[in-house]
Symmetry: C2
Subunit: 228 residues, 2 copies
DNA sequence: AACAGAGTTGACCAAATGGTCATATTGGCA
DNA sequence: TGCCAATATGACCATTTGGTCAACTCTGTT
């Protein structure tokens, strides 16, 4: 504990973050089994032994990455109550999730790959924390439905709809780029997509959009003509 | 060609289909690299040598499965024109895609895993056939918007929204089951989810739902579209 | 019975796998 | 200077990888 731990600029911190970033890419691409320590090491520009020296084992590295992603997700959440404005809450949720997807596409894909293989490392989280989070939201949504603030849709499926629609732009990026014939999705694409999702989902479950023009900078969007 | 080819009940047909089914599971779970021929063989209840004898190589097996899934997808599609009813077309699309997801969850996951790793085996398909299919639909959607039959939403993102929302129930099944605390999604769940998605998406982009009571919504199996 | 071709499978191979370890090489402090 | 922990890495290991091959069994035909 003498001097080695200058906590920010140390060799350890630098290398570990390089390894984490490289590993996130490789795991996201090939899944847990398909990723090899060798490939991660090459992506990080280090010999394999060095990678193992820092992270201990492939399994530990994978768990670390999953936990980091869950922490990002948790940091994004805020509590809601039945007296909040449905439009604001739903739109905030969509925008937050979309921002997470955009800022951490590799992490999103890593999560997707983990769930695809049956979420063996995330059982506890799914059945615990996350379930409670979903249930709490669902209860609030249900109260809103009873009050006539939104259509009587199943709140859990609504949450999954938002989840899937946003997640998609990370997980299926290759498909989207292939079909739209682009090299990458730019900032303006993400803004337009977010506005689109807010429009369709809010309107689709009968939620009045938040009256703000001021709350968040948003492109002068292509809002609809209100049918009915 | 003497007697071996009793084409349906032959040993070859039986074993090949067992192998394909097992391989679809394993590839869907672990991706291309993460799946081992050994694991596939065990899942199929055959020795590894036997699997290689029938399918030639891991790569060929994988390509075969992808092609089978693309064929299923193509078989599901029907053409549309700008004179068709938007509500009927959109609802038909959602229901068809949902049925595909339900009937072939492993295939859906296999596709997801392939796209997650950057779709190396599907570049051609994505940039060719699929792109043209999406563009054709997009043009029709745009005409509908101009005619005031739906909100002026971006048709490509609408297609992706439908894609993601339906795909999700296969790819993220583990997450959904974990959160809802179920062992499996039943037929009634799928029906309710499909109705939910139809409601939100049609309403969300300002499409009048098909005058529904005559067109069978829930019970029957196959909804053939009749154009006027 | 003899033959042929499909089906079956263990033995085997070179390469890659995750991981260990012994041995350097550093960099700060006495 | 010498010391020591942190860092770095090649050599190595048992296991697994995708794939080949030769030998075998089975079944139907002659």
């Amino acid at each position: 504990m003498t001097s080695m731990n200058s906590p920010e600029s140390g060799t350890r911190a630098r290398n570990e973050s390089m390894i984490l970033e490289a590993a996130e890419r490789v795991f996201a691409c090939h899944g847990y089994r398909g990723a090899s320590v060798q490939a991660i090491a090459e992506a990080a520009g280090l010999p394999k032994s060095n990678v193992l020296y820092y992270v201990g084992s492939k399994r530990k590295l994978y768990v670390t990455l999953l936990e980091r992603m869950m922490a990002r997700w948790n940091a994004m959440l805020d509590d809601i109550g039945e007296n909040d404005d449905p439009g604001e809450v739903l739109e905030g949720f969509i925008r937050s999730k979309m921002r997470l997807t955009r800022q951490h596409p590799q992490g999103s894909r890593l999560f997707a790959a983990e769930v695809l293989q049956g979420a063996p490392f995330l059982q506890e989280y799914l059945h615990g924390e996350l379930r409670e989070w979903v249930r709490a939201r669902a209860r609030v949504f249900e109260r809103w439905s009873e009050k006539g603030l939104m259509d009587p849709v199943d709140p859990v499926w609504l949450i999954f709809l938002i989840w899937s629609a946003t997640q998609h732009y990370a997980d299926f990026e290759a498909q989207i780029l292939g079909i739209t014939d682009q090299a990458a999705l730019g900032e303006s694409d993400y803004r337009a997509i977010t506005d689109f999702l807010c429009h369709v989902i809010l309107k689709g479950c009968g939620v009045r959009p938040p009256s703000d023009v001021d709350s968040e900078r948003r492109s002068p969007d292509i809002q609809s003509k209100e049918t009915t």
